[in-house]
Structure formats: structure tokens, C-alpha cells
């Protein structure tokens, strides 16, 4: 009895003396470099969202196949199908914007030679509603047709949800690249992951898809994991490119 009490006391003492386990996590530094066409230099792919999916390519075969086979409407086709004017499509293209929120809508685009008809109509509604030109301009997007305002973004979100809400997928992280094409995935457990853009990225006349298998260790990796749509000695994974489909 006495012996077991002493043993128990010893176990408790040793357990209490242990330092609390420090949660070790890995970091993955992603760098995305692309060429929209061969006459241009490689540059960082700015402002694109990438996903980190736990497991190997084989374990996620169904998802990878679904990503590769999805039929998506390109940006220009989406806006054409929803009746956007050529001026609006050009305004979006000029800034490489996917929605009207990406750059401020200046006065030049509500009247005069550079007018975008959709902006002019929304501005006119705002003028009546707010009785103030400045507010009508600043709040212009609140009077735009929802399909043209954020319909493209919502369309993409629905496609993402359909793909990523399949059963059996683990905890998925996502980050957006900065203007140099860099991004970090943090707080990662060790193991194998897939880096994917899930929704193909429009690069000039092609659609690029990455599904790259990567190993993550407990130590922070300071060497970036570089992916591209062109082969290079530093590139760890090359995109699968397909020509952009024609608009229906």
C-alpha cells in the first residue's frame, strides 16, 4: 500500500515537472511566377488565391479530377453573357479586375468620352437618391445590377464551395499572393499537402491550373516553394495549361 502510494507520488511529481509541450508547426512559403506569353518576362502572379489541401494527389484523386475537368466561364464570357457593355468589359480588363470593386470609379467614367454606360446609369440613380454628386459617385456600386456588381465573384465562390465541400477533405487553408506572387501558409502540421488554385487562373489566352504535391516539415522553410507555368531549375511544379474556351 505504502509502496504504491510512493510510486503514485513519484509519477505525479515527474508529470508536473515536465515542461508543457510546445506546439510545433511548419510554414510553407509559396512563390508563383508566370508568363502570360513567351515574349514577356516571368513575373510574380499577384492577388490570386491558393489553397492547401491535406493529403497526397492520390488520396485526393477525385478532387483533382474534378478541378481539372470543371467547365468554367471565363471573366469576359461571364460579363458578355450578363449583358455588360464593351466599355465595362474594357474597364475591367484595363485593370485586370474581376469585379467593379477592384479600382475606384472616377468621374471620367460616368460622363464624357470614357463613359461606361452601367456606371452612368447607377450614378444617375444615386444623384436622385442621395442628392449629392460626391456620394452618388462614392456609393455608385450600390446602384449597379447585382450580376455585374459581384455576380462573377459569387459564381466563382459557388464553384469553389462545390469542389471543396466534398466529404473527406481535411482542414483547407487558403491565402492570396501579394504583388510579388508570394504567400505563406502557416501553422501547418507535418505531412503531405496539395497546393492548388482550384479555380483555373486566366493567363493571356490560357487557363492555368496547379495541383502540386508538397511535403511540410516542422521547421520553417525559408526557401520558397516556387510554382510556375514555365519550366525552370527553381520551379518545383508546373501548371497544366488549357486554351481559354470560346464564349457561348
Amino acid at each position: 500500500m505504502k509502496l504504491s502510494f510512493v510510486a503514485l507520488l513519484l509519477i505525479v511529481t515527474v508529470a508536473l515537472a515536465q515542461e508543457p509541450a510546445v506546439k510545433q508547426t511548419g510554414v510553407l512559403r509559396l512563390r508563383v511566377k508566370v508568363k502570360a506569353d513567351d515574349s514577356l518576362p516571368l513575373r510574380g502572379l499577384a492577388r490570386k488565391r491558393f489553397f492547401l489541401i491535406p493529403g497526397t494527389l492520390e488520396q485526393n484523386r477525385a478532387l483533382v479530377n474534378a478541378i481539372e475537368q470543371q467547365q468554367l466561364t471565363t471573366r469576359d464570357c461571364y460579363y458578355k453573357q450578363h449583358g455588360a457593355s464593351a466599355e465595362l468589359i474594357n474597364w475591367l480588363k484595363d485593370g485586370d479586375c474581376e469585379s467593379v470593386y477592384c479600382r475606384s470609379i472616377e468621374k471620367d467614367f460616368v460622363s464624357g468620352p470614357k463613359v461606361v454606360p452601367e456606371f452612368a446609369s447607377a450614378f444617375a440613380v444615386g444623384q436622385k437618391e442621395y442628392r449629392d454628386d460626391e456620394t452618388a459617385l462614392q456609393w455608385l456600386t450600390t446602384n449597379l445590377n447585382p450580376d455585374l456588381r459581384d455576380g462573377f465573384y459569387k459564381d466563382r465562390q459557388r464553384a469553389l464551395e462545390t469542389l471543396l465541400k466534398q466529404g473527406g477533405l481535411g482542414m483547407i487553408q487558403s491565402v492570396m499572393t501579394d504583388r510579388n506572387g508570394s504567400a505563406y501558409f502557416t501553422d501547418l502540421g507535418p505531412g503531405t499537402y496539395i497546393i492548388s488554385n482550384v479555380i483555373p487562373t486566366e493567363l493571356g489566352q490560357t487557363l492555368a491550373t496547379w495541383n502540386c504535391e508538397v511535403q511540410v516539415k516542422y521547421v520553417a522553410t525559408e526557401t520558397p516553394y516556387t510554382i510556375s507555368n514555365r519550366k525552370d531549375k527553381n520551379v518545383k511544379c508546373v501548371a497544366v495549361e488549357k486554351p481559354k474556351p470560346a464564349c457561348d
Binding site: 470593386y101 479600382r103 521547421v219
Partner: protein, 298 residues
């Protein structure tokens, strides 16, 4: 032995006195304090527009008298200085209309704001230096410079209503879309420098620190809520410029200084308290050296 009649009377009197005392204390402590307003009170949990009339252009203000009088008529007209008036007014007098600046006390918040940075990063927040003539939307729409050190967070609705006035949910009338009642009133933590001495507007004459925010704040684009959001900045954000062999080697120099003197405090980047700790492994990794503890340096 039975207690005497006097003893019984004494016990009864004592119990009655204690009972009366407890009733007095209880009634006093449970009396409502009308000088304090809480959104947590059951009857204050009605639809927001019961009291807050959404008026153009903003609604960060106290509701009108009707909002209070509709339920609190007796408290509203009690005495010369009704305590309920002090919720909004600086002087509790019917002849003085002066009000506290909204909100009172200025820092105490009853609601927490839900803000998904990830969605906003997807829809806005571009910064394309390659196209300087175009005015791209970016983080500065909401986060202007508060000082050279910190950026300001939005304090009113103006930066939200540009897009969320109507149609784009959560719209102006849907207060609960962004504002969630906190479990208790709280004072938001004031930003202070604990570790790095970084200055946003710095970076020499060329102000090279003025870069795209997400290059350094690496977790913003994946955060769907403000909860647990930290200003995560990896050391590589600094050493891309501050530790280039043949150019600036600010990190290498300080690690070498620790090699020579284990009490050396790293002050180039860090506040003194943090600079005297062991450099983390990430710093040695950048310098391509195995991590060291100060105590192991002879």
C-alpha cells in the same frame, strides 16, 4: 434544558432584525441603476431600429428621446436631475441639452464587429504599382495612417457604406450582420510596441517600408473574422532587405554581436525587453546558422 422566555424573545428579535436588514440590503442592491445603459438587458434586445433610426449618412449617435420615454416615462420625469438622462447627457437637467460625444465612456464597447478580411481581399484590396495612374482599391480604404507606427482601424460606417448601404449584404439596416453583442462591455486593446520597432512610413529617404500590406501581414488574406487576428509578420519580410550579403546585414551583425557578448541586446529592430531574449530559431535559419541559446555561449 429549555431556554428561558427572555432568551427566546432575544433570539426571535435577532432573527427578525437580520431578516429586515437583509431585505433592505437586497432591495437596495437590486434597484436598477438607470444611469447605466446595457444592450444585454432583455428588454433592450429588440430590433436595432426600435431605437436607432437609420438616418443618412451615418447612425453612430444616441437614439432620440422617444426611444427611452416609450418604456421609461416614470424614470424620465423623476426629480430635477433624473439619473436616466446621464446615459446620453453631460448634465442631468431638463434645461441643458449638451450630450456626451457618442459613445460614453468613449472606449467601452458593447458590440464586437465581425469583419471577414478574406472576402474583402478577394473583392477589393488590389495594389498594382505597375499601373500608377489607376486608383486601385487597397487596405488604405479602411486603414489610414494613424501614426508613423500604427495604422488606424475604421471607427464609423463611412468605409462600409460605400458598398454596403443597400443591396450588398450586410446592408445598413442589418446591424446584426456586422455587430454582435459582446458577452460583457470591453475596452479594445490599445496597440503598443512589444517587440519590433518597425515604422510603416520609414525605410530611409525612399520610404521603402511603404509596400503592399499583405507582403508582410501574411495572415490577413485568410482570416474570416477579427477574432484571434494578430499582426503576423515573418522575419523574411524584414530580411528581404535587411539581411542581404554584400548589402545590409543587420541581422547577421547582431547575431555576431551576441556571439562575442551573450548579454548583447538586439536593438536595431527590437524593443529592449524583447531584444535581450534568445533570438528565435527563425532568425538563425535566415543567417544559415544553427540556433543558439545565450546561456550556451562562452
Amino acid at each position: 434544558m429549555l431556554p428561558s422566555r427572555n432568551q427566546s424573545q432575544l433570539v426571535t428579535k435577532t432573527i427578525v432584525t437580520i431578516f429586515i436588514f437583509l431585505i433592505c440590503v437586497h432591495s437596495r442592491s437590486s434597484a436598477a441603476d438607470y444611469s447605466k445603459f446595457s444592450h444585454s438587458t432583455q428588454k433592450h434586445r429588440a430590433a436595432c431600429n426600435t431605437c436607432h433610426k437609420i438616418t443618412f449618412p451615418d447612425i453612430t449617435d444616441y437614439p432620440s428621446h422617444d426611444a427611452c420615454v416609450s418604456c421609461h416615462r416614470p424614470q424620465f420625469f423623476r426629480g430635477a436631475k433624473p439619473p436616466i438622462c446621464s446615459v446620453c447627457h453631460s448634465k442631468t437637467s431638463p434645461r441643458d441639452e449638451a450630450r456626451y460625444a457618442f459613445r460614453k465612456p468613449p472606449t467601452q464597447l458593447q458590440f464586437a464587429v465581425e469583419f471577414p478580411h478574406d472576402k474583402h481581399q478577394d473583392a477589393i484590396a488590389l495594389l498594382r504599382f505597375a499601373h500608377p495612374p489607376q486608383n486601385y482599391n487597397n487596405c488604405t480604404i479602411c486603414h489610414a495612417s494613424r501614426s508613423a507606427t500604427f495604422k488606424a482601424a475604421p471607427t464609423d460606417h463611412s468605409s462600409c457604406f460605400n458598398c454596403h448601404w443597400k443591396s450588398q449584404e450586410p446592408v445598413a439596416a442589418n446591424c446584426n450582420g456586422c455587430h454582435k453583442l459582446a458577452s460583457a462591455p470591453y475596452v479594445p486593446a490599445e496597440s503598443t510596441r512589444k517587440s519590433a520597432k518597425f515604422v510603416h512610413e520609414g525605410g530611409g529617404e525612399k520610404k521603402q517600408h511603404v509596400a503592399e500590406c499583405t507582403t508582410c501581414h501574411i495572415n490577413i488574406t485568410k482570416s474570416s473574422s477579427l477574432r484571434g487576428l494578430k499582426p503576423d509578420v515573418p522575419i523574411t519580410a524584414c530580411t528581404e532587405c535587411h539581411n542581404k550579403v554584400g548589402a545590409r546585414e543587420d541581422l547577421n551583425k547582431e547575431l555576431l554581436a551576441i556571439d562575442k557578448n551573450r548579454s548583447f541586446t538586439c536593438v536595431y529592430c527590437h524593443a529592449e525587453k524583447v531584444g535581450s531574449l534568445d533570438p528565435p530559431a527563425s532568425h538563425y535559419l535566415i543567417a544559415e546558422r544553427p540556433p543558439l541559446k545565450r546561456k550556451d555561449i562562452k
